[in-house]
Amino acid sequence: MHPSCQLCHEQPATVHLTNILDGGEKRERHLCDACAEKEGVLPKPVNVMAQLSAFVETSKGSAQQVAGLTCPQCKLSFVEFRNKGVLGCPGDYDAFAKALVPLIERAHQGASHHVGKTPRRLGVARSTDGDLIRLRRELTRAVDDERFEDAAQLRDTIRSLETT
């Protein structure tokens, strides 16, 4: 059985304080949460997580940056990639380059450049690829929002890019 609070004599005492007075005399107080708070004797809450992340941020600034990476085209974050193991779009290879290269090198015996077959046709790695992905996403959104005029315009733009 818990002793009851020395102040309200109703709630069980959950805060136990031992003050050592100037003369070396000990003074014990047993209070409930509510009375302890009123008395202002509760220790200030310490946000351990905030301290930790602040520490991580200062000591590992680059790791934080890497974790915060998001692909501008498909909106996949690097953290999501690490959890799932698959990338969201071809653009991720550039968007995550800094974080991805060490992983790629580890998986491929230190290699980070392609050797071997390349597509015969020129213009395959087109600069419009990223635009196409972005436009298609906007098209989906436009259709979802029933903005059909925008959608029609987007569709035309996509078609013209596809045929170039």
């Binding site: 491929h108 980070s112 071997g116 690829d129």
Partner: protein, 352 residues
């Protein structure tokens, strides 16, 4: 051609014998490709996924290379048919288990397959009996060229062909051989071979590839590195170093068993033969074990009256989905399957 037609044929990789086919059951090369301008499948919307499937199906059906191919819409197939395709190694479990628009184009000879919307937009592979990787590379390379003439691939000047998983990036190639290594397993030396393979950055898997453990006597050995090494270099390493070395180990182990433990070896082979010829009910696992011993017996000349083609048919047809298809496609209980399996092996091995 539908799944039933596919089933009525032996399937290329278990058909006739190929080079080194006493040990190398089949060779396989696959390439992973993605269409430029589209997100990978994990980020593709429902309509993008449909667009991709439609676009790729049209290209595959239209391409000159693809005459003699059948496109199967996997989303429309029943579960049993899907399972048959998996058991024949035509498609991956991943393709079957995925959701949404996806499909597979299969050649009449069942030696060339293009999967649409698996992990990557395109996964094409060619397979052949025995050791014939150089030939397969020529075929898959041409297939890739022919598809590329109509499809813009996602390609990066530094990283090469871009894939959903960075472990495939670069050439997107997976070269693999299916090996039958019963003697190495019996002598316990398989562990050394597996360790050596790992040291060479090779993956060793079981009969059904990715996600299956290397249990039993069948091992699939494949490359893991796809970046920084040309396709031909990987193929040539398999041809000139990896496969010959493992084949030699297995042959030495077979010889050692014949020299030192021939009675124990014969006992094992003939017990397996006896079981398959007389069992009234048998599990697929037990069947596989005995077929492996029987295969060894045939290749070391101990069993002379069983053609390898019959063994190969049994490998395929004793699997659960094949058995059910052959029994009219109705659902069979495990017990009924075991009985049907035993009946089939007895019949094929010529005994009542």
């Amino acid at each position: 051609m539908n799944v039933n037609d596919i089933m009525s044929k032996p399937g290329c990789w278990l058909g006739e014998a190929g080079p080194l086919s006493d040990i190398v059951i089949s060779s396989r090369i696959r390439l992973a490709r993605n269409v430029a301008g589209y997100p990978f499948l994990s980020r593709a919307t429902h309509s993008q996924r449909n667009d991709l499937a439609k676009f790729l199906r049209e290209r595959l059906e239209g391409s000159r290379f693809q005459s003699g191919f059948t496109y199967l819409d996997v989303d429309e197939l029943d579960e049993l048919s899907c399972q048959v395709l998996v058991e024949r190694h035509l498609v991956s479990r991943q393709l079957v288990e995925a959701k949404g628009a996806r499909g597979v184009s299969v050649s009449d000879a069942q030696n060339t397959v293009v999967m649409v919307n698996e992990e990557d937009h395109l996964r094409m592979h060619v397979v052949g009996p025995g050791m014939q990787l150089d030939e397969l590379w020529t075929v898959v390379n041409e297939l890739d060229d022919s598809i590329e003439s109509e499809v813009d691939y996602a390609f990066h000047p530094r990283y090469g062909y871009l894939t959903a998983c960075p472990t495939n990036v670069g050439s997107g190639i997976r070269v693999s051989v299916m090996l039958h290594l019963p003697a190495l397993k019996l002598t316990g030396e398989i562990e050394r071979v597996l360790r050596a393979a790992k040291d060479m950055n090779l993956a060793v898997r079981g009969l059904f590839g990715e996600g299956t453990e290397a249990t039993g006597d069948f091992f699939q050995v494949s490359n893991q590195v796809t970046l920084g090494r040309a396709e031909k270099e990987i193929v040539s390493e398999f041809r000139s170093t990896i496969v010959p070395r493992i084949v030699e180990y297995e042959r030495m182990a077979r010889q050692a068993l014949l020299d030192e433990k021939s009675r124990a070896l014969d006992d094992r082979i003939f017990r397996s033969y006896g079981t398959l010829r007389h069992a009234r009910t048998i599990s697929s696992e037990e069947t596989l074990l005995h077929l492996s011993h029987l295969r060894l017996g045939v290749h070391i000349g101990r069993i002379k009256d069983v053609p390898v083609t019959v063994l190969n048919e049994l490998f395929l047809e004793t699997q659960p989905a094949h058995l059910q298809k052959m029994h009219g496609g109705g659902k069979l209980t495990g017990e009924q399957r075991s009985a049907a399996r035993a009946d089939l092996t007895r019949q094929k091995l010529g005994n009542a």
